[in-house]
Every structure is written in C-alpha cells, then in structure tokens.
Amino acid sequence: MRQTSLRLRAGIVSLTILLIFGLAWHIGVSGTGPAQQMDPEYAKLMGQTAVQGKSAMPGPLDVLAKIWSHLKEPFYDRGPNDKGIGIQLAYSIGRVLLGYGLAMLVALPLGFLIGMSPLMARALDPFIQIMKPVSPLAWMPLALYTIKDSSISSIFVIFICSLWPMLINTAFGVSSVRKEWLNVARTLEVGPFRRAFTVILPAAAPTIVTGMRISIGIAWLVIVAAEMLVGGTGIGYFVWNEWNNLSITNVITSILVIGLVGMILDQALARVARAVSFPE
C-alpha cells in the first residue's frame, strides 16, 4: 500500500516536472512579436528569427510532431542520406551487439585465465592498465588504416571499449570466489573443468554481469561518436547529418531515441544480473 502510493506520488512529481519543463521550453522558444519595422523585402531574407523574434530552436510541439512522423514511417529508405530513424538505429544496435559479442568471447575466457592464475594476472596487468584508459576513438585511425572498412572499424572500436570492464570484472570475480566454496569442491574431488562451471562461474556471475552492464553502457556511448566519425549509416551519423541539415528537431529527437535505446540495453542487463544474483 505504502509502496504503491510512493510510486504514484513519484509518478505525479515526474509528470509535473515534465510539464513545467515542456511549458518553459515552449514559452522560451516562441516568438515575442514583431521585433522591429523593416523593409518587407529585407524581412523575407532575414526569416522568422529576425522579424518575429522567434527562436531558431524548435519547440516541444515541433519535436513531438517530428517524433510522430518518425514513428509513422521508421524504416523508409530514400537514398544514402535519407533513411528512416529505425534503419539508422538498427545499424547502430547491430554494430554494438557484434562488437560487444566479440568482446565477450575474448573477455570471459581471458578473464577466467587471469582470475585463476596469479602469474597471468601479474603478467597481463601492465598491458591492461595502459590500454584501459585509452579513449576507444583513439583506436579509430589505426583501425581504419588496417581494416580499411569504416563499418568494421566502428565494430572494432566497440569491441575495444567493451573489452576492459568485462575483462577486469571477470578476472576480479573469478579471483575472489570464496575460499570455502573452493574447499568444498576440493574435498569433493571435483575436477577443474566441473569446478569452473559449477562453482567458480556461478559464484563470479554477479560480478561478471556487472562488468557486462558497464560495457554495454560504454559501447552505446561510443557508437554515437564512432558513427559521427566514420559516417555512412547509424544513429551517430544521423545526428551529425541532421546537424548539417540544420534540423534541430531531428537532433533533439535522436537524443531522446538514443537515451531510450540505452536505457533498454541497460535494463536488459539488469534483468540478467537479477537472474544470476544469489542472496547469502
């Protein structure tokens, strides 16, 4: 009862904030009436901003109308510079999932190795420490030069940026499995392979999934920047293209859509995290 009423009240506050923000936005960008008298021919050249005092920023209603038009037709394709936002998103999500999946394939086994072997942990530590803080976009020229394909290069950049949190968390999770659980496996003469899958993996899973959740967040941040850089397709390219078109409505729409997709990706991983967590 208290729980629902709290949720309801929070919802009301959220909605109020949204309305106030929308109203302020609407008032802020709407015209202030004729600014000054000028020659009608000159006024035509100057446009609404100079004549009516109207802001160049679109209002909330313009953005809503834009979103509606995108929703009506998300997957249209009218040539390389005019594709529906749905297609652009699909490109971006596809690249993220590919790069992220590849990073998983490398990070999980390698993290296991580092977590299990103090020797490998120390041997690989300097490489990880130096590579981890490098902005993934710094890899882009090298990727373009060696791979010679802009789309694969952006997948590579996603791979690189998703790698580190997963690798570090897997290694940490594996190395900090409680000694007593390992002792249980030892006294039961459980072989190394079975031990890895029945004791270490379930024990480290919450930490590993936390790393995966950080990775997917970073990957989604980086894909927008990477696509702005390489161009062609994707939501990042879409944003930059609409900026070049001076369509601020589309830029704002993309910001909202990017946020929405990022939230969905994060929530999906949160769901996985709940599934593998265990109370002690």
């Binding site: 007593e180 002792n183 249980v184 006294t187 039961l188 003469e189 029945t198 379930p202 265990f278 109370p279």
Partner: protein, 298 residues
C-alpha cells in the same frame, strides 16, 4: 590395524611470514584414532587445531611428518573424508537438495539423476529437513544451514567425518539438538569422527577421546583424555555420573592454566610419540587444582 585407523605421525606445520620469518604453529604431533571412534581436539585459538583438521582433510599438507589413513599417507582431499565446515560453506545459488546432490554426484558420477536425488532426500530427511529441499540456503536459519552441511557430509558415506567447530556459531538450544542428532547418526553408522571444539561440555558429551593441545605457537599434544563416561549417554543425566565432574574439571583446569604452563613443566617421562593417556576418575572433594586429578594409565 583397527587401533590405528588414522595415525598422525610427527606432523609439523610452519607458516612463512612475508618479512621472511617463520612461525611454527605446532611441532611433532603424534596421535591415533581407531575405527568408529569419536575424537575431539580441544585447545585455545592459535594452537593449530584447524590446521590439523585441514591436514586430515587434505586441504593442507604438513611440512614434516605424515597423516596416515588406513595405511596410506594423505596426499590431498578425498571423498573418503568428508568435512563439515564451521561456516557451513553451502553453495548459496543451489537449493538444499542441490547442495546435497552436488556432493553425491561428485561421489558417484555414474549415478542417474533419480538415484542421486533419492540419496539426497534420504539424508535431508535424516537431519530433519524434510520439506525444505527446494529452499535456498539464504532462506534457512543458522541451525538449518548446518544441518544441510551435515547431510551433505554424511550423504557421501565417508570413512571419516571431520568437523571444524560445527556448532560454535549456533545458539545453545539448536546446538544441543544438533549434537544429539550427530551423536545418534554417528553411533548408528559406527562413523569415525574427528572434531574440533572449544566447548568442554560438547567434548564430554560427544567424544570417546579428547586430544588436548597446548597453546600455540609451537603447540604440542599435552595428553589424551579418555572419556570415563559410558558410551550410552543421556544429555540430561550425564552430569549425575560420578566421573562427570572429574573429567570436566580436568579439561577446564587444562584450558585455564595447564595449556599455558605445560611446555615449561614437561613431565620427565613425556614422550611426544606417546602422549600420556589420562582417565579422569571421581576424586574426593575438594578437587586438587592440577593434573593430579587424573590417573595415568599409559
């Protein structure tokens, strides 16, 4: 042979500090356990009790000497020796049934799923947890968790049961019931048990023999106390037995004073390989304060 089912022969364990120094936890320890015997080890913290148990379980190895079971030196963990951990050490992501079944399928990898489950259910019932099979350890009380630990250890039908202060984290009431049940199960099956405790009454109630360790470091076995109480014991009547206070006072005297002073006043005829065996007997009041309370038999 059966008199020395387990034989601890001159084991020493040293730990190396990071600054290069070494601490000898215990040195040159000798004692033996017969088949079907229930042996408790008592001593203060830091005397290496748990290390002795870890060596018996195979989780740790001695720096010198050997622990021999059934004629073979222990070289690593074995399913013949089940351990009940102080912290129960259940796998929290598995259910009660899953925890016990994990041990059983490790013991008999060829068993079918239904065979494993049947064995698991049998032992879960034996420790009085019928109905809780599908629960996760986090949903259980401390006593119930330790019951699962006991079921897991017994379900693999080990030759030796090793217990590291299994009841010390439980409240008095739960401890009592669990002691009763462990005692009943071990008597029924003729289980050989080695248990570590710091609870004198627990040792008197459960043990056939009690190994007394002096304080660490460089701990040693001071003596082995044979329990004068009959094998058939009733928790509520035990204190009426004429020898009860003799053994109780003897053990408490040891823990309070002699565990500290023993090393400085080692008896002339003390032999590390054959620590003196004492059977405390009823003494006329008032009780003498020291080890004269015991009659030497070895």
């Amino acid at each position: 042979m059966s008199a020395k089912f387990i034989s601890i022969e001159g084991i020493t364990r040293r730990f190396h500090a990071p600054d290069g120094g070494t601490t000898t936890v215990f040195e040159d320890i000798w004692f033996a356990i017969a088949r079907g015997e229930f042996v408790c080890m008592i001593g203060h913290s830091g005397c290496g009790k748990t290390t002795v148990l870890n060596i018996l379980s195979g989780l740790d190895l001695p720096d010198d000497g050997a622990a021999i079971v059934d004629g073979k030196a222990i070289e690593g963990p074995s399913l013949d020796r089940a351990v009940i951990f102080q912290s129960h050490a259940l796998l929290p992501w598995r259910t009660v049934l899953g925890n016990v079944a994990y041990a059983i399928s490790s013991r008999w990898p060829r068993w079918s799923r239904s065979q494993v489950e049947e064995q698991a259910r049998r032992f879960i019932e034996k420790v009085g947890l019928k109905g809780a099979e599908a629960k996760k350890p986090a949903q259980l009380s401390g006593g119930m968790k330790q019951r699962v630990g006991i079921a897991r250890a017994l379900s693999i039908e080990p030759k030796i049961l090793l217990m590291d202060e299994p009841f010390s984290a439980l409240d008095a009431l739960t401890r009592g019931t669990l002691q009763d049940e462990v005692r009943r199960i071990c008597l029924e099956t003729g289980q050989t048990v080695f248990m570590i405790t710091h609870d004198v009454d627990e040792a008197i109630y459960l043990a056939d023999k009690i190994v007394l360790m002096t304080n660490g470091p460089e701990a040693m076995v001071a003596e082995i106390v044979e329990n004068p109480l009959p094998k058939e014991r009733d928790r509520n009547q035990i204190h009426r037995h004429p020898a009860f206070y003799a053994i109780r006072n003897h053990l408490i005297d040891f823990l309070v004073s002699r565990s500290k002073t023993f090393k400085s006043e080692i008896p002339a005829d003390y032999d590390r390989r054959k620590p003196p065996v004492i059977v405390p007997q009823n003494q006329p009041q008032p009780l003498p304060p020291s080890h004269e309370a015991g009659r030497k038999v070895a």
